[in-house]
């Protein structure tokens, strides 16, 4: 592939090479779908040869990404979503014919030669990782607490409360303590439910990782995310995971406390780590 032409030295017309993913040269993605355009304002997504590997890139205007330009653009949620989906779409399209190692958003090189050099420097590691991800996909597993979870059945809340005289201070304190206990019980039960879901689900996976819990705002009013995890599954074993989740979802001990959500299949983003990164990963 040719190096993009540097038409003029001024910033507005300088192109940079934006890298999306690395794959094995032998399992190239073939022609991309025509609708796949990558980042706005850039050239068409294309493939660079890097020995046994290949790299999916796009020429983009450097000024739109470098320095604070990208951070500024990403302040606009609509722009952020466009960038994020553009990146994700290219990676996803590339993964249809073989394993890919996704690179984070906005991995930028001065030109194609530099991008290829960066990949070749780690050729052995990339190859090992690609072989490990071969015929495997990532699934997202989220457990969210149910906002109005039922209080434990052994406490007839409300009824006894109303019978007591409002002037009875001791009764009042008992009620407050009782409510507090109920909350704590519900909380513990919800966490236990989430841990059980993770323990059962990960048995169907080759590898599992916990991700940072997402912001409570995403879980909905009064709910909280109890588990955010990623599972790496062999192709063809998704049914086992789905079956396990279905069973867990109908188990009253879990269904009363929490809601289970499965997303995927994803390109194995959460498991794309080179050896040295995996070794120093504090999250595991």
């Amino acid at each position: 592939m040719s190096v993009p032409a540097y038409t003029a030295p001024d910033e507005t017309s300088t192109l940079a090479t934006c890298a999306f993913a690395v794959h094995l040269a032998a399992s190239g993605p073939g022609p991309f779908p025509p609708a796949l355009s990558g980042h706005a304002g850039g050239g068409e997504p294309r493939v660079l040869d890097a020995g046994e590997l290949a790299l999916i890139v796009q020429s983009v205007p450097a000024a739109a990404f470098a320095g604070e330009a990208l951070a500024e653009r990403l302040q606009d949620p609509a722009e952020l979503e466009r960038c994020a989906r553009a990146h994700h779409d290219v990676i996803t399209a590339a993964a249809r014919t073989g394993p890919v190692v996704p690179l984070p958003l906005a991995t930028l090189y001065l030109d194609d030669t530099r991008a290829v050099a960066a990949v070749r420097e780690r050729e052995a590691q990339f190859t090992r990782l690609l072989n490990r991800l071969h015929r495997r996909t990532e699934w997202g597993l989220k457990v969210t607490s149910t906002p109005g979870a039922q209080p434990p059945a052994d406490r007839p809340a409300g009824e006894t409360d109303r019978r007591r005289s409002p002037a009875d201070g001791r009764a009042y304190l008992d009620r407050v303590r009782g409510r507090q206990r109920d909350r704590e019980h519900r909380h513990e039960a919800a966490w236990r439910a989430a841990e059980r879901v993770y323990a059962v689900a990960r048995r169907t996976a080759v590898e599992a990782r916990r991700l940072r819990p997402q912001d409570p705002a995403l879980a909905g009013a009064g709910a909280r995310q109890l588990l955010n995890a990623a599972l790496l599954l062999d192709h063809g074993t998704e049914a086992r995971l789905r079956h396990a989740i279905d069973q867990l979802s109908t188990d009253p001990a879990i269904a009363d406390q929490a809601r289970i959500e499965l997303t995927g299949p994803w390109v194995p983003y959460s498991f794309a780590r080179l050896d040295e990164e995996a070794a120093t990963d504090g999250l595991q």
Partner: protein, 121 residues
């Protein structure tokens, strides 16, 4: 588990489709910002702190998703969420101030000249 030699392409079963369009933006962001193999690029990208950015992003995603379902795009004009909107807001405020100023100048002139009129008559 590790296969040194990848299977030939022919045996690669087509995946069931990934969900790029339907995927939740928060799920995508936590993967493309936090995950993936980092090979240092040439060009300095100042994405602030990734974690900070992710948190900020998450704070408004749920609202954005809900709003989109309802066909609302309020964030486009919400100064706190959009730098373009912030510029627009500044522009609007400037415009309002200019209008108010010229209004004051006009009425001010009026008041100034009026009391003098009886004197000069």
């Amino acid at each position: 588990m590790t296969r040194r030699t990848p299977q030939p392409l022919e045996s690669y079963e087509p995946l069931e489709p990934y969900p790029p369009r339907t995927a939740n933006l928060a799920d995508i962001l936590e993967r493309i910002l936090d995950k993936g193999v980092v090979i240092a690029g040439d060009i300095k990208i100042d994405l602030l702190d990734i974690e900070l950015l992710t948190i900020r992003v998450r704070l408004f995603i749920s609202s954005v998703d809900t709003a989109r379902k309802a066909g609302i795009d309020w964030w486009e004009t919400e100064p706190a969420l959009s730098s373009r909107a912030a510029r627009d807001a500044l522009y609007d405020e400037n415009k309002r101030l200019r209008e108010r100023l010229s209004e004051l100048e006009t009425t001010g002139d009026h008041r100034h000249t009026r009391p003098k009129e009886p004197e000069s008559v």
